[in-house]
């Protein structure tokens, strides 16, 4: 595979670190200038990531080797198809989240907005860093920065409840970080390298017992952010964060960084062959299946809308890991496609929840009767997201689910097919009543939407979910990129 070196991956990481300092320097006194930095960084960042699409789609790898950072490892940014997929989604959605945040934070007249936007920018740098990491050490560095930079966002309200949620968040993520660190140290010792390699590099470096242990610690390390049960409980608690944070970080960047890590471990550290030999695919499949079903059931009983969305996220994240872990061409591609598709749908749902909260201060599902009459655009977008989650064509969710389901058949694992299908039913059971009650039940007041910043953002992401279902290669070329990644890992 041809490797070209370029500064652009580094630029994409650094641009929002630059914004971090500019935002802090600008401060509360000039909010418009401050938000201009966020918007500017988001757009520049996206364009930089977007420009990497061309070499990667030509089958090249874009590399930016910086300097040695640890014994035997460089600080290495290396953009392959899978990293690009995640980077594109995160940086594209950051643009809309920024606009949405402006509307949301000003709508609530929230305090400490400088810190909010600054930490958001830092978190996005870390996310792109995670996406572009070329080895485990670099990955770990950005992964930990992501943990730390999102902590102030989780506890943004600074109430005792928020601080408690923050402590829980840190307890889970830092403990996971420790497991991850241990795994990386063991990998470095056993294999002498930590560089990601499509198809894995651990084959034959140690006994099956040691490798199994390594796999478990790796999965605890990355699975906590990916909210695999029973390591999930930080995520519903973290919903105390402002809604844009929940939208981008707890549906796209942070949790998907965990999923991204899991996929890297599965496909680029262990590899399909080794995992089959070790017999680890079925156990992982069972754990993720249990997560899918149990989280859906929890979602059914959650009355707080954001909490319901959080449990839905937990279940959808395990869709991805299960799909990837089955390692058939369709399941793998379906898993990867579910990263952008779920991102578009879930961010729309969160945006709607936030818009409803800012306008009406309602956050419980039971209070939302008739909300569609007052906020038709918002609930319309919500309906698109909800139908997509259930898997109704032509919204993009059906497409990834189709691949995932075909994949289970290819893998001859009908149990997992059952899991996917029953989860779709559960999705319908917890999402559709909201839409139905919102439009058809209760008294609606006069039409009163949230600020245009928010409404336009959520309409765009909803439209994105719609368009991607019909033209999966529209603009971001996610489908082609996912196919590339699949070919790399599964070897054609």
């Amino acid at each position: 595979m041809e490797v070209i070196s370029s500064w652009r991956p580094l630029g994409a990481v650094l641009v929002s670190i630059g914004a971090f300092f500019l935002i802090l320097a600008t401060g509360e006194k000039r909010p418009n200038l401050r938000e201009a930095w966020s918007v500017g960084a988001a757009i520049v960042k996206f364009l930089l990531v977007f420009s990497l699409r061309y070499p990667v789609l030509e089958g090249k790898i874009v590399e930016c080797r910086l300097f040695p950072i640890a014994p035997g490892a460089d600080l290495l940014l290396r953009v392959d198809s899978f990293g690009l997929l995640f980077g594109l989604v995160a940086s594209f959605l950051w643009i809309f989240t920024t606009f949405y945040s402006i509307g949301y934070m000003r709508g609530l007249a929230a305090a400490n907005q400088t810190r909010y936007f600054a930490c958001f920018a830092l978190a996005l740098s870390a996310t792109i860093g995670v996406a572009f990491s070329g080895n485990l050490i670099t990955f770990y560095i950005f992964y930990e920065i992501l943990t730390i930079s999102t902590y102030p966002l989780v506890i943004h309200k600074e109430t005792e409840e928020a601080l408690r949620a923050g402590r829980k968040y840190l307890t889970y993520t830092l403990t996971a970080g420790v497991f991850l660190l241990f795994s990386i140290a063991l990998t470095q010792y056993l294999a002498g390298t930590t560089g990601f390699k499509a198809g894995g590099f651990l084959d034959g470096v140690a006994s099956p017992k040691v490798l199994t242990l390594l796999f478990v610690t790796f999965m605890i390390g990355c699975g906590t952010k990916a909210a695999i049960m029973p390591l999930h409980s930080w995520l519903p608690t973290a919903m105390i964060a402002p809604t844009p944070v929940s939208a981008l970080l707890h549906a796209v960047a942070v949790v998907k960084a965990g999923v991204f890590g899991c996929v890297r471990i599965l496909g680029y550290v262990f590899g399909p062959e080794l995992l089959r030999q070790l017999g680890l695919i079925v156990p992982l499949g069972l754990v993720t299946s249990a997560t899918i079903i149990v989280a859906s059931v929890f979602a059914l009983s959650a009355d707080n809308l954001k909490r319901r969305l959080a449990f839905s996220t937990i279940s959808q994240l395990s869709y991805i890991i299960l799909g990837v872990a089955l390692f058939t061409p369709d399941s793998f591609k379906g898993g990867l496609l579910h990263i952008p598709f779920h991102a578009f749908m879930k961010i729309t749902l969160f945006f709607c929840a936030g818009a409803i909260y800012v306008t009406t201060h309602k956050e419980n599902v039971s209070e939302l009767d008739g909300i569609g009459k007052a906020m038709p655009l918002t609930l319309g977008a919500f309906a698109i997201g909800a139908f997509g989650m259930v898997g109704v064509p032509p919204i993009c969710g059906y497409l990834s689910k189709w691949y995932l389901c075909v994949g289970t058949v290819e893998a001859h694992k009908p149990l997992f097919l059952g899991v996917y299908l029953s989860s779709a039913l559960l999705n319908a059971a917890y999402f559709l009543p909201i839409v139905y009650n919102g439009f058809f039940k209760g008294e609606g007041g006069p039409v009163k939407e949230a600020s245009p910043f928010m409404v336009i953002s959520l309409l765009i992401t909803a439209a994105g979910a719609f368009v991607l279902g019909i033209f999966p290669d529209f603009l971001l070329k996610v489908s082609r990129i996912a196919s590339y990644a699949m070919t790399e890992v599964l070897g054609g």
Binding site: F67, P68, I69, A70, P71, Y140, I141, E144, I145, T147, I148, P152, I155, E158, L163, G166, R167, L170, L174, T175, V178, L181, F182, A185, L186, Q188, Y189
Partner: protein, 496 residues
């Protein structure tokens, strides 16, 4: 013998000039009130320049030997600088320069009465630390050890109040430690007739069967364990660090312990053989276990502290444990981690104590639970505190992460998963108590009243920020530190 040229004298000047400055300070300070600070600045500034010269020379041309008064060992005293003490010399002089700048506004604010005597003793302390590092003679080392310790007792007591008792505690423990060290020196002298380290290294192997050598080694190790406050001999440290004046806290917390660790490493690795330390008298395994215990116990004690400086002090107990654990594991990667942690901890703990001092001076607050929203009042100091705290927890890319990474790799290489576990769990414990501080500083608003921005004086702020920035730079540049600064040091301690 050939007398060295002027550049050869840096080694001795680095000690002599501060020593003279100390006397000058005592005399001139009586008449001129501003002189003591500038003498201290001059002394540490000169020491920094001289150290840099020595360091560069060692890196380029190898070890420097200097015979005081032209007397050859074993009769005369030899100053010998190789890779191991060259970087220590740079660390000690560089940090003390920053601390001296920090002291300008801090000492007059915190020390009642005249500052002349404070600075006189302060310069003596720096002299003692530099002397310990450069000397190649075990008895001369004892002399400097006592100079620095006596100076430290005095500087702690300068805060009065509870510091007096803390200092007295330290005097008792420190004196016992010094006696042990001296007894060790005495036994070796009886056996070999030499006090010169290079001589001793040559003569000792033939005497390993002799129990006196074992007893001498035991005295050395226990004496130094007290000096560096290795758990369970750490009891003097928390009070001494917590109640000392801020300037004193910074210098003893970032340098005294490190110099003690240097002596431990020097004696173990330059005088003795690995077989002896691993099998005949298993000092190294014992040290590694004590280090592991220190890490856990120090962190647990730190968890229960409400006084910020006391918390930092207990955290030092844990961090000393890291270094000792790395030394005890004694493989090359763990030793790299240990030496790297000596540098990193000096910088991050120095920065944290500087921030603590700045908080006390501008707000009078010592309790963590009074730190509500301090970032509004002193944003830059708190930025440095944040970096220091993250580094203590071991969040990359701060430097604290990378020394831990080496230690973890060393423990994995050693095959001791328990040590790996200890290092990993301790970073979680560190997170527990440091994030509690960060929560108050950044996220807990005051219930009433507004907060006016009021930073510490510039002379305190700048060194604090330099330390904070160094935490990041040392982290990102850790491979340069290892390959340039520590390369020669590792050559010295990786056994023949």
């Amino acid at each position: 013998m050939k007398f060295p040229g002027i550049e050869g004298h840096w080694v001795v000047l680095v000690v002599v000039v501060p020593l003279l400055c100390s006397f000058l300070c005592f005399v001139l300070g009586r008449f001129l009130r501003r002189v003591p600070f500038y003498l201290a600045l001059g002394a540490s500034g000169f020491a920094s320049v001289a150290s840099l010269a020595v360091f560069l020379s060692v890196i380029r041309h190898g070890p420097i030997r200097y015979f005081l008064g032209g007397w050859l060992p074993p009769w005369g005293i030899e100053y010998r600088v190789d890779g191991l003490n060259a970087f220590m010399l740079l660390l000690v002089s560089g940090v003390s320069l920053l601390v001296t700048i920090y002291s300008k506004d801090n000492v007059p604010a915190e020390i009642k009465g005249e500052v002349t005597s404070f600075y006189t003793v302060y310069i003596l302390l720096v002299t003692g630390l530099l002397g310990i590092v450069v000397t190649g003679d075990v008895f001369n080392l004892y002399v400097f050890l006592e100079i620095s310790s006596l100076a430290a007792y005095t500087l702690i007591a300068a805060a009065e109040g509870r510091a007096l008792l803390a200092s007295f505690n330290y005097v008792i423990m420190g004196t016992v430690a010094a006696c042990f060290y001296l007894l060790g020196v005495g036994y070796l002298y009886i056996m070999t007739g030499s006090l010169n380290m290079a001589d001793l290294a040559r003569l000792l192997p033939s005497l390993y069967h002799n129990p006196v050598v074992a007893i001498a080694l035991a005295f050395f190790v226990v004496g130094l364990a007290i000096k560096v406050a290795l758990f369970p001999l750490h009891t003097w440290l928390p009070d001494a660090y917590a109640y000392a004046p801020s300037t004193t806290s910074v210098i003893i917390a970032s340098l005294m312990g490190k110099v003690g660790l240097y002596v431990l490493i020097r004696l173990l690795f330059s005088l003795f053989d690995p077989r002896y330390l691993l099998q005949d008298l298993p000092v190294l395994p014992m040290l590694s276990w004590l280090g592991a215990m220190a890490i856990i116990m120090g962190s647990l004690f730190a968890l229960s502290q409400l006084d910020f400086k006391r918390m930092l002090a207990y955290s030092s107990v844990a961090q000393i444990g890291y270094v000792v654990l790395g030394v005890g594991m004694a493989n090359s990667i763990a030793l790299t981690g240990a030496l790297l942690h000596v540098i990193n901890h000096a910088v991050m703990k120095g920065g944290l104590f500087m921030a603590a001092g700045a908080i006390i001076q501008t707000t009078g607050k010592r309790q963590i639970t009074d730190f509500h929203y301090l970032h509004r009042r002193m944003p830059f100091t708190m930025a440095a505190l944040l970096l220091g705290a993250l580094s203590m927890v071991g969040i990359p890319p701060t430097c604290g992460f990378f020394s831990k990474w080496y230690l973890i790799l060393g423990a994995v290489k050693k095959g001791n998963l328990l040590f790996v576990g200890v290092i990993l769990i301790s970073s979680l414990l560190n997170a527990l108590y440091f994030f509690r501080v960060l929560e108050y500083v950044f996220f807990k608003p005051l219930s009433e009243g507004s907060i006016k921005r009021r930073e510490a004086p510039t002379t305190m702020l700048v060194p604090t920020l330099v330390m904070g920035g160094a935490v990041l730079l040392l982290g990102l540049g850790n491979q340069w530190v290892v390959s340039i600064v520590l390369k020669r040091a590792l050559e010295v301690i990786s056994w023949r």
